[in-house]
């Protein structure tokens, strides 16, 4: 791709043409006419776009950098950014003109110059570039400062020995109070020194408040950074399980069933105290943030209502119970929550992941609602969101029960998405909607995509395993499918039937017998070995005393049928798959235990064949079994153990989920989606067990309260009067303080580090004002 492949003569013609073109372009580039230069540059950029190597033109392009025409300059830079790393030596020659442009009055030129300089990958110039970045980091124009922030990781990639100097620049930039710049500064931080969490302490509160004002891309990145920060600095919000890895072994971590009642009146649960404190903390959570409460007023789910009714009782519980959260922890949750309404599904996902890990269980339903809605936004993002939901469901199924319908499958869904949705559905199904789900699954069974049908069968099996009352219905419909033309589907059906039969064997003996009659029609080794296993008769339990006469009769019929079937199977032993062969041997042994007379010939035959089996494992088995079941009369010392070994108690088979195991990587990450560790991924740290010092974040706020955000209600500050600050435009009042300081930066004042501290002192006073007129503040702001 890229360069169109040439063949024979055409190649030659092309070459000649290209050479001709090159000469023409070259002369144009060196001409004195701006028009010609522009023409040639445009052509070059078109060539570049096609993926052609245009670095040969580097020398003739670079001379134009001194051009007075802004357009020529911009095009030259566009060209240079792309080719600088291919022709580092030539780029080096023009470094003087780049440096000159760093002092250009136009911020765009300054930004471009820095961008090009940081793209030249030569170690020698690193000090120069660092110098340039340091200069641009305090540039009056935020546009240039942002470019400086983007240059830092590039320098780091070029020479990571300079980390110290780069960290200094990052420290400077973190003090910036323009959201636009800050997001890039934090990005540089994550790339250069993600472990230096101490750098973030002082800026944590500022960053939280500015989140709403950042561009959506910055929000995605910052949510990830803040999640990691919070995981290392705050205690776990409650004891509910959040990570898949944690679910398995540890006690003390519980599923949400306790906090979110479904069918049972939950307050009768024994662990009442814990719940009450969770509810209490969430109540306190709401009370200091009115705006969030409102947003939910008329969209509350039943659970929420139940929770509210419970409030008076719960609130009496001490607020520092297990549900207690640090103020800064709450600040983060409060500042991120509005972003759930972003149009960008990436933002919603990042915020949802943050809340899933950090917020108290009682707050999660809202997050889940937004996430399910985001899954609908476009087909491409659906896959990723559903994948994340799947992991959340595996740890906390109750959260998603009210969104049952949202996971029904449409014909446009790719197979991966279908598998994930089936997985989710089987996790969240309840006895109420089981019939609905079965009807839906039944419809999927008729799909012409057999892989999907196989997945659906597995899902039906999982539903039936969860709810034994529907098992017989499921088995009946699966029995039909065992004759499906696709061997994959048929075998899946049989495997699932076997698993279900095993859970409640007595009821399904007839089904097993039907399957045994059908064995000849089953092709897939999985299906055949499943049926052969069933024939072994282990589904009958051992105690013979209290069996009714009718049962006994049935049992005899069963063994009769099983022996007949085994005889036929043993005949074709050599043609079977290894898996089936093993099962044949096992079953023969089992039946020999029950009826040594009738089975001894079959077993002898099988032993004889198996002794020369191509599989080593098989031959070994035969050797062991021969000793355990000496059919040919050879003396054996372990004979008496045979029964116990072959008929030992076996656990009920679990129906493993057909979808890939949900993985333990951080939600929302690429690694999570791909299920392997992508380069650059670091796992989430565990919450500390002891609260780390909280006053580290105080330093930044020298004001007495230091918590202006909590008290202020919404007040939209529209910084129109002084140059329309981008930043504070849409943030609610706790950000308005920041917007002030930042609009001063827009007016062009050199907003260096010393200033920003002062402006934040101002901001404390400001927020006091905004409290007074909080109700109609946006009206008044707009009018002036």
């Amino acid at each position: 791709m890229g360069v169109p492949p040439g063949h024979g003569n055409r190649q030659f013609v092309d070459d000649a043409q290209i050479a001709e073109e090159q000469r023409e372009l070259d002369t144009k580039l060196r001409s004195s006419s701006t028009k010609d230069k522009l023409d040639a540059l445009k052509k070059l950029i078109a060539l570049m776009a096609m993926g052609r190597d245009v670095s040969v033109f580097f020398p003739s392009v670079v001379v134009n950098i001194v051009s007075e025409s802004f357009e020529v300059k911009v095009l030259v830079y566009m060209f240079l950014v792309r080719t600088a790393d291919q022709k580092p030596e030539e780029a080096l020659l023009s470094i003087n003109s780049f440096q000159k442009d760093l002092a250009h009055p136009n911020p765009r030129v300054r930004a471009l110059a820095l961008r090009v300089m940081s793209s030249i990958r030569i170690q020698v110039i690193v000090p120069v570039v660092i110098l340039a970045a340091r200069k641009c980091a305090v540039d009056p124009s935020p546009y240039v400062r942002k470019a400086a922030a983007h240059a830092v990781p590039k320098i780091y990639r070029m020479d990571n020995g300079r980390q110290e100097e780069l960290i200094e620049i990052i420290e400077t930039m973190l003090r910036d109070s323009t959201p636009f710049v800050l997001s890039s500064a934090v990005m540089a931080f994550t790339e250069v020194c993600p472990s230096r969490i101490d750098l973030l302490h002082r800026h944590y509160r500022k960053i939280c408040r500015m989140l709403v004002d950042m561009d959506e891309w910055g929000q995605i990145l910052l949510c990830e950074v803040l999640l990691r920060y919070a995981r290392s600095q705050f205690l776990a919000p409650d004891t509910h399980a959040r990570e898949l890895g944690a679910v398995s072994g540890k006690h003390g971590e519980k599923k949400l069933e306790l906090a979110l009642p479904s069918t049972e009146p939950w307050y009768n649960e024994e662990s009442n105290a814990g719940i009450q404190s969770i509810v209490a903390s969430s109540a306190a959570f709401y009370s200091d943030s009115d705006e969030e409460e409102d947003s939910d007023e008329d969209s509350d789910s039943d659970e929420d209502k139940a929770k509210k009714e419970k409030k008076p009782g719960g609130a009496t519980a001490e607020s520092r119970g297990p549900g207690w959260l640090d103020e800064d922890h709450r600040l983060l949750l409060r500042c991120t929550r509005p972003m759930l309404q972003s149009q960008n599904s990436g933002v919603v996902m990042a915020v949802a992941a943050l809340h899933f890990y950090l917020s108290p269980a009682a707050d999660l339903p809202k997050v889940v609602r937004a996430l399910v809605f985001a899954a609908h936004s476009k087909p491409e993002s659906q896959h990723i969101v559903v994948k994340n939901i799947c992991t959340m469901v595996a740890t906390q199924p109750l959260l998603f029960q009210s969104h049952f319908n949202a996971f029904f499958i449409t014909p446009k869904d790719p197979l991966d998405v279908r598998a994930l949705k089936l997985e989710i559905l089987t996790h969240i199904v309840t006895s109420d909607n089981a019939s609905l789900l079965l009807r839906e699954l039944q419809a999927y069974l008729r799909s012409s995509n057999y892989e999907f049908v196989a997945l659906t069968i597995r899902a039906i099996g999982r539903c039936a395993a969860i709810m034994p009352q529907i098992a017989s219905v499921c088995i009946r419909s699966l029995l039909e499918l065992s004759l499906h033309p696709s061997p994959k589907v048929a075998s899946e059906a049989v495997v699932v039937i076997r698993a279900l039969v095993q859970q409640n064997p007595k009821e399904h003996i007839v089904v097993v017998m039907r399957l045994m009659r059908r064995l000849d029609q089953l092709m897939a080794p999985e299906a055949r070995s499943a049926v052969i296993w069933l024939a072994g008769g282990e589904i009958f339990d051992g105690n013979e005393e209290n069996i009714k006469a009718s049962d006994k009769e049935l049992r005899e019929k069963f063994f009769e049928l099983a022996t007949q079937m085994m005889r036929r199977v043993v005949k074709g032993f050599a043609d079977e798959h290894e898996m089936t062969r093993q099962q044949i041997v096992n079953t023969c042994c089992k039946m020999y235990v029950q009826d040594p007379l009738r089975m001894s010939t079959s077993l002898k035959y099988v032993f004889a064949l198996g002794a020369s089996d191509p599989s080593v494992d098989m031959r070994d088995r035969i050797r062991v079994f021969r000793a355990l079941f000496p059919v040919d009369g050879t003396p054996s010392s372990v004979k008496q153990h045979g029964d116990a070994i072959i008929l030992c108690e076996k656990p009920e088979p679990k129906l493993p989920s057909p979808a890939m195991q949900t993985c333990e990587h951080a939600l929302g990450s690429l690694s999570h989606f791909l299920e392997h560790v992508a380069p650059g991924y670091t796992p989430l740290v565990k919450h500390p067990s002891v609260q780390p010092p909280t006053n580290v974040r105080e330093q930044y706020f020298s004001g007495p309260s230091g918590r202006d955000g909590d008290s202020s209600a919404l007040a939209l500050r529209n910084g129109k009067s002084n140059g329309l600050g981008t930043g504070g435009f849409y943030s609610s009042s706790d950000d308005s303080s920041d917007s002030d300081s930042e609009s001063s930066s827009y007016t062009g004042s050199d907003d260096s580090d010393n200033d920003s501290d002062e402006s934040d002192d101002d901001s404390d006073n400001d927020s006091g004002e905004s409290d007074d007129d909080s109700d109609d503040s946006d009206d008044s702001d707009d009018s002036d």
Partner: protein
């Protein structure tokens, strides 16, 4: 971290249209993976498979029209960031080059494309993807530019030389916008997702809506928009220009619009619960009619579909027949338009011969689908499609290996093969949920703009099960 490279590909000819690298150069081999994935999706009639992996990079791709946009990353990056970047890139290109972004168009405007990419992304991280804001930094190729370039002999403005942040107080709006006549138009588009069984019973349904704004207003207008029946909005999201807290507190959509077209909000309509007043679901402008009432009493959570679809199919060993009848229901005051049905046939179909009494029906071999489109419904006849199909005889093909098993094969259950039908339609001029624009006030500017609101209903995923 971030996007390494962007490949703009033509998926018809499977060739490269443009490429841009922000970091190291990514091998274009990944494009082959993208094409493979696309072919797979087309064969299975699915959409939304968006990730491919190559040796050392991960590619995400979306297809819009004949262009596939593929972005790669080699290090841990939020996958949704990649997807959103691509889809917003497409939105920007559409705002610049018109609704049909084709290879020819992109070839013609390479410089603009590159300039845009440079402004949108810095070192692999998207910075500003708002067409409204970018237009100030990179002027779109419009008639004026072209005329000046031919008449005046210069190249037109490629790029403006002003301080971007003076021009762009808000990322989506510059402060020097001037229009001779100020206009703002809203389109409220609601789409119906529904699954219907062969008898026409709605099994599950949902209504999603979005409000699209076309703003041509001067200066810095501040708009307050109120919606009637806003209690029906269940879940919602907003354009970055909307003040979230304002909507949360008093359900007023307050925003400074992006210039030109943008999607202001999307929402999901709350399904009426059976306990609620059933009348709530029937807004006044939808005629009360017998059908609607029965539909509602049957299944309170179903939405009124403007048309009915009755499929019938029968498949034999080597031949089969599918027939579909479509008719409109008088549920809406407005007529149903541009109805089109995709009938996906079972996989063992070899060829199909569709014929329709109205509209046009074609068979696509690659995806095994008959597409039937009826631009306008005939006034008093019911359109009907019938498809004769030839099928591969699987029972003969799957001759069992052992002769003794042949009678087993003949006893195999005869599977009732199904056709998947997805329907799409439009009903211009009517909304379905009853959510309407109540008032629209422009403040902060002195002029009185011309306003207009249009309502549309269209199909989302309408699936008919046979």
């Amino acid at each position: 971290m971030g996007v390494d490279s962007l490949f703009v590909l033509n998926n018809r000819t499977e060739s490269l249209v443009a490429v841009k690298h922000w970091g190291a150069i990514t091998s274009s081999e990944i494009c082959e993976r993208v094409f493979e994935a696309r072919r797979d999706s087309a064969r299975n009639g699915v959409e939304g498979d968006a990730c491919v992996a190559d040796q050392d990079s991960y590619g995400f791709h979306i297809s819009r029209g004949e262009i596939t946009y593929a972005a790669t990353c080699s290090r841990e990056t939020s996958p949704l960031l990649m997807i959103e970047f691509l889809s917003q890139l497409y939105d920007v290109l559409r705002a610049y080059f018109g609704d049909s972004v084709t290879e020819a168009v992109l070839q013609e405007h390479h410089v603009t494309l590159y300039q845009l990419l440079d402004e949108m992304v810095d070192s692999g991280v998207p910075v500003n993807m708002h067409a409204g804001g970018l237009k100030v930094l990179v002027p779109p190729p419009n008639l004026y530019n072209r005329v000046t370039s031919t008449v005046m002999g210069n190249q037109g403005i490629i790029v403006s030389d002003q301080d971007p942040l003076k021009l762009l107080p808000l990322p989506w709006r510059s402060n020097n916008i001037k229009y001779a006549s100020n206009e703002i138009y809203l389109d409220l588009i609601e789409s119906i997702d529904a699954t219907i069984d062969a008898e026409g019973k709605v099994l599950s349904s949902a209504v999603y809506g979005s409000i699209e704004v076309n703003s041509r207003l001067s200066g810095m207008p501040d708009i307050n928009l109120t919606l009637s029946n806003s209690h029906l909005i269940d879940e919602y999201n907003f354009h970055p220009s909307v003040r979230l807290s304002r909507f949360a507190s008093d359900r007023v959509v307050s925003f400074v619009p992006a210039d030109g077209k943008s999607v202001l909000m999307s929402y999901k309509v709350r399904p009426p619960s059976s306990k609620q007043d059933p009348n709530q679901w029937q807004p006044r402008y939808i005629k009360a009619n017998p059908w609607l009432k029965t539909a509602n009493s049957d299944n309170p959570s179903s939405v009124p579909l403007p048309l009915y679809i009755r499929p019938q199919s029968a498949f034999g060993a080597s031949h089969g027949r599918v027939s579909v009848v479509v008719g409109s229901k008088p549920a809406f005051e407005k007529p149903v338009e541009s109805v089109s049905l995709d009938v996906r046939l079972p996989s063992r179909v070899l060829s199909a011969d569709p014929s329709a009494t109205h509209g046009e029906a074609t068979f696509d071999v690659a995806s095994n689908t008959v597409r039937w489109s009826i631009p306008k419904f005939p006034p008093d006849k019911t359109p009907c499609l019938s498809v004769q199909v030839n099928m591969r005889d699987e029972e003969e093909e799957a001759t069992p290996s052992a002769g003794s098993k042949s009678d087993g094969a003949s006893r195999r259950v005869h599977l009732q093969e199904v056709v998947d039908i997805t329907a799409s339609f439009k009903v211009p001029g009517a909304g379905v949920s009853g959510i309407k624009v109540e008032t629209l006030q422009v403040r902060n500017e002195k002029y009185k703009p011309t306003q207009g609101v249009r309502y549309h209903t269209k199909s989302g995923a309408v699936v008919v099960r046979t």
